[in-house]
Amino acid sequence: MASVVYALCALTSGLCAVLLWRAYRASRARLLLWSSLSFIGLACNNLLLFIDLVVVPSMDFSLYRSLVAAGSILVLLLGLIWDSN
């Protein structure tokens, strides 16, 4: 059951990234660019989670997963700060 949830999280984040990118292409609003990049990172994070816990449970990817997640949030944070300026 947990593996289904991990996979769905990755798919949902990926879908969000695609929708945000599509909206960015249409409007050229910077916030949407940063949000899209951030969701791409979150999708990668969820994919790594799936690989880590389901595909190759013998290996520990937690550090890489955390770094990708932190980077994604940082991108979104920088985008929000830049947009508010």
Binding site: C16, L19, L20, R22, A23, Y24, S27, A29, L31, L32, S35, D83, N85
Partner: protein
């Protein structure tokens, strides 16, 4: 149908370079005294705004090439757009602010909700007709 009182250039300038009503008031105040140099403290007293906020707004406007900056006893600012187009835009904004103040304020207010609306609209998979 009445024509839009604000040109696209003015709308873009308001949302991209000005961004808030407070900053607009500051810019128009400086524009009114184009030869006078101001310290943030003096402007804060004149406009009845907190000095640190005025300082932030002055830095924002300087970064957008709208003000000249000099270091005297403190950092002082003077209205001096770096390009002729910028000067013309500020003139147009000042005129619009005089004649259509509600519209100018509405553009700045919409900017605050604009990003949030774009973000929300991004998740509309089917772009259907919307009311309003």
């Amino acid at each position: 149908m009445t024509p839009a009182p604000l040109s696209d250039a003015v709308r873009r300038f308001l949302t991209d370079a000005v961004g808030s009503v407070e900053r607009l008031n500051l810019l128009l105040f400086l524009h009114r005294y184009p030869t006078r140099w101001w310290a943030a403290q003096a402007l804060a007293a004149e406009l009845e705004m907190p000095a640190d906020m005025v300082q932030t707004h002055l830095e924002h406007l300087s970064a957008r090439n709208l003000l000249d900056v000099k270091i005297a006893e403190s950092v002082i600012y003077c209205y001096k757009p770096g390009r002729e187009e910028l000067s013309a835009l500020v003139e147009e904004v000042a005129r619009a602010h005089y004649l259509h103040r509600d519209d100018v304020v509405a553009v700045l207010a919409q900017r605050l909700t604009g990003s949030a609306r774009l973000f929300a609209d991004a998740f509309q998979i089917r772009k259907g007709k919307r009311d309003g």
